[in-house]
């Protein structure tokens, strides 16, 4: 009767797929963090609107105009004056047409309506009559 030979298998786990997954997760987090901070100023506290429709996806041609509590106009993270805003909105309207430009105003909860009105007037001047206001539906915990 032949004697059974017990082979000494090495119990090493292949770590390569796990490392691949971990790297992909890391890349995902890094990329998403970068994208979200691009156009939004963290100084602006949005007013609460729990019943407003949530933004499902970015509409092409959306221009986000931000207003801080002192009425300063911010495009991205840069402060700009009314003349510059008029130029930017005018450029977008000339390129895409007024119906294709979607204006979203992100104003601080304490911003006086006087400043919001000034921005809206610039948009109306350029032929844009539909305006969106951004508000906080649910804050990320």
């Amino acid at each position: 009767m032949a004697k059974k030979v017990k082979k000494n298998y090495e119990s090493n786990i292949d770590m390569t797929p796990m490392i691949d997954c971990v790297f992909q997760l890391m890349i995902f987090f890094i990329v998403t963090i970068q994208l979200d901070n691009d156009q939004i100023s963290e100084k602006i506290k949005l007013a609460q609107s729990p019943n407003g429709p949530k933004i499902e996806k970015k509409i092409p041609g959306t221009m986000i105009i931000q207003l801080d509590k002192d009425g300063n106009i911010l495009m991205g993270k840069a402060v700009c004056n009314e003349a510059a805003l008029r130029g930017i909105v005018g450029l977008a309207v000339n390129r895409m047409g007024p119906s294709q430009v979607n204006i979203m105003i992100r104003a601080d909860t304490k911003t006086k309506h006087y400043y919001v009105r000034r921005v809206m007037d610039i948009c109306t001047e350029k032929g844009i009559y539909k305006i969106q206001f951004a508000a906080m539906k649910k804050k990320g915990e």
């Binding site: 490392i19 963090i33 609460q48 609107s49 911003t111 006086k112 009105r117 539909k130 906080m136 539906k137």
Partner: protein, 127 residues
Amino acid sequence: MSKSHDSEKIDMTPMIDIVFQLLIFFVITMKPLDIIAHLDVNRPMAISGESIGIDQFQVTVARDGFRINERGVSVETLTSILGRMAHFGKDQAVVVACDSNAEHDGLVRVLDICHSVGLHKIALVSR
């Protein structure tokens, strides 16, 4: 001289340690995304300064509160009136007039109430 098999293996432990630490760092520092709502309004195409007819249903946002057709109302009353209005038809237009010295929070509040009762045709005028 025999070649040892163990010398061919790379020790992955330090790399895995580092990768896990980086992952934990990103997970902890990551801020969950806020859910943002969009409140749509229409600006009347009238020339600036032209008055809006008084026969239209008008909600005024003042610095000290809200008014319906120039009569002061609480948030609850405003919600109830707009709710009753929506009951007759969701296509009815609401004119929201906002005072220049009113804070943006008040305007958002009125727009939020309009959306909560289902009124979506909102015209915004500034005073």
